[in-house]
Structure formats: structure tokens, C-alpha cells
């Protein structure tokens, strides 16, 4: 058989995601990091598409890339005064981090490679259709507490999910309320505080000495 486009796009996206992730790790400029992170997350969204989770993918694009990243960039810009370059990590720390990270990666890779052993015989759908199965409606129903994909009573009995327990209505509610609370809290934390002393202007006052910049009312 010829080239499996599913595999081709998977490898492409995987390489993009991993590469940009590494770029995030090894770059020092915070804005570039943000850019790489966007790219990496976008690639992950592509992987979601390939895994048939198009809703999650779109959500990933919207929330992460469209929302979280803009938030990050806000953070970058708002704290953009002051040097970023000198926030270098010492080579010694790099080595320690590298060691730990490497060992962790090794362990995880071992676990991943063992997946074929603890999942069913590793045969996958050889030729995935070019039209992804609709998932938004089932997801929405599941969030409202009805599992259309677990309607099979046999599977219900097999997998020990009680009828009412498989829905996600309550977690959905909890997450929504949690989100609201968190956003309010964030707005409160990040609100503009009035400085006890007016900002130093021009040369006649010492430019931005920490006491003044740190004196918040």
C-alpha cells in the first residue's frame, strides 16, 4: 500500500509539536517562547483532529491559542519593563534539570512503548475516513448528563459505570462556577492598584527605586 496520509500528517504534527515544545524550553526570549508555545499547541490541536476529536481541537485552538496565549502575552507585555535577558539559568541547574527531565522522559517512553502490551492487540483502524465522525453533539449531551456513546447496556454492565454516573452534568456545573469564580478572583488580584506615592517623574526624582515601585496601597 502507499503512503498513509493519516500517518503522514500525524508525523508532521508530532514533529511540529515536539520541536516547538523543545524550542520553548531552550529559548530565552519570553515572547519567542510564547510564539513557539502557540505553534506547539496548534500542532497539538492538529493531533486532536487526527485523533478524531475535532471539538476538542477547536476548543484547544480557541481557548489555548486564542485565549490563554493572549493572556500570556499580556503578562509578558505588562511585565515587559525590566530585563528579561538576565534571567538566565546557570549551567549547573541546566544539568540537574536535564538529568531529571531525561530520566522522566525515559520512564515515560518506556511506559508508552509498553502500551501495546496492556492495550488490546495494537491493530488500529487502518484507513481512517476523511470525514471525521461528529463528536460535538455527543459531547454536548454528555455534558448535560446523557451518554449516547454508552447506551449499550452490555457495555454498561461490562464496564462498571452505573447509568447516572456516566454523565458529566455536575462536573460541568462545578467547572463553570469555578471558572467564574477564578476569573473574578483574577480580575481582583490584577486590578490596578493606586500607588501610595505618585510615580517618579523625569530626572528630579530617582527613577523607579524599588521602595516606591513596591509600595502598593
Amino acid at each position: 500500500m502507499g503512503v498513509n496520509f493519516h500517518s503522514v500528517f500525524f508525523h508532521l504534527m508530532a514533529v511540529l509539536a515536539s520541536g516547538f515544545a523543545l524550542a520553548v524550553v531552550f529559548s530565552n526570549n519570553i515572547v519567542r517562547m510564547a510564539f513557539y508555545l502557540v505553534a506547539s499547541l496548534g500542532a497539538v490541536a492538529g493531533l486532536f483532529f487526527l485523533a478524531g476529536a475535532d471539538f476538542v481541537a477547536a476548543l484547544q485552538l480557541m481557548i489555548y491559542v486564542g485565549g490563554t496565549l493572549v493572556l500570556l502575552i499580556f503578562g509578558v507585555m505588562l511585565t515587559a519593563r525590566g530585563p528579561f535577558a538576565d534571567l538566565k539559568t546557570s549551567p549547573a541547574q541546566w544539568t540537574v534539570v536535564g538529568l531529571v527531565g531525561g530520566s522522566l522522559l525515559a520512564v515515560l517512553l518506556y511506559a508508552a512503548s509498553s502500551a501495546s502490551r496492556w492495550t488490546a492487540s495494537g491493530k488500529a483502524a487502518s484507513a481512517p475516513p476523511d470525514q471525521v465522525a461528529p463528536t460535538s453533539a455527543p459531547l454536548g449531551l454528555a455534558l448535560l448528563g446523557a451518554r449516547v456513546d454508552k447506551l449499550d447496556p452490555k457495555q454498561n454492565s461490562a464496564s462498571s459505570r452505573a447509568g447516572g454516573m456516566s454523565g458529566y452534568l455536575l462536573p460541568f456545573e462545578i467547572v463553570s462556577v469555578h471558572l467564574v469564580v477564578v476569573l473574578i478572583g483574577a480580575a481582583y488580584l490584577a486590578r490596578a492598584r493606586r500607588r501610595a506615592t505618585p510615580r517618579p517623574i523625569a530626572a528630579n526624582s530617582p527613577p523607579d527605586d524599588p521602595s516606591q515601585s513596591s509600595s502598593v496601597s
Binding site: I63, G75, A111, V182
Partner: protein, 114 residues
């Protein structure tokens, strides 16, 4: 053999997820910039999400009992939402920290030690 020809297996996804995860952890551990740490966290969460989606993917393990069906995607949804919340919170904290210390070097955030 040609990697592009053989079908994608769950392991592939897990490997990518592991790479993202480790990158995130490394980022958290190595970056002294609070925002960098935050980005690391996002990476970690994405690695986890990738695993969730892969476990529930209809193309990879749909037939085997190991498949968790839609639950994977639902988990991913929740993780994404919580990640957004966490990012907002963390940024707010970073801003406060910056207002107080005029820097966002996380190594400076050890008053509780002293």
C-alpha cells in the same frame, strides 16, 4: 520499514504526549521567568490532554475495552477549561508579584523562607 505507511498506533500519541510533558516539566524547572514557568504548565497539561484524547480516540483503540470512549475528550475539555482558569489566576499572581517586587524572577519569591 516506512513509518509513513504503517497506521498510527496509540504508542505514537503517548510518545508525543510524553515529550510534551517532559518539555513542560523541564520548562517549569529551568525557567526563572514566572511566565516561562506558566508556559511549562501549559505544556504539561497539553501532554496530559494528548494522552486522554488518544486513549479515547475512535481511530486508535475504539474496539478494545481499554478505550474510554468520549470520556477522554470530556476529560480533555475539563482540563482545557481548568487550564484557562489556572492561566488567568497565575497571570494575576504574576502581576501582583511584579507590582510588589519589580521583577518576575520566581527565585525572588521566597519571603516565606526568610
Amino acid at each position: 520499514m516506512n513509518p509513513l505507511a504503517e497506521p498510527v498506533h496509540l504508542t505514537h500519541y503517548l510518545v508525543v504526549g510524553a515529550v510534551l510533558f517532559v518539555c513542560g516539566v523541564t520548562c517549569m524547572a529551568a525557567k526563572r521567568n514566572a511566565i516561562g514557568v506558566l508556559m511549562g504548565i501549559e505544556l504539561v497539561l497539553n501532554g496530559a490532554n494528548l494522552n486522554f484524547v488518544a486513549f479515547g480516540s475512535p481511530y486508535l483503540q475504539s474496539t478494545s475495552p481499554a478505550s474510554i470512549g468520549l470520556d477522554g475528550q470530556l476529560m480533555a475539555l475539563f482540563v482545557i477549561v481548568l487550564a484557562a482558569a489556572e492561566a488567568a489566576m497565575a497571570l494575576a499572581i504574576a502581576l501582583c508579584f511584579y507590582n510588589a517586587h519589580a521583577t518576575i524572577d520566581v527565585d525572588q519569591a521566597d519571603e516565606l523562607k526568610r
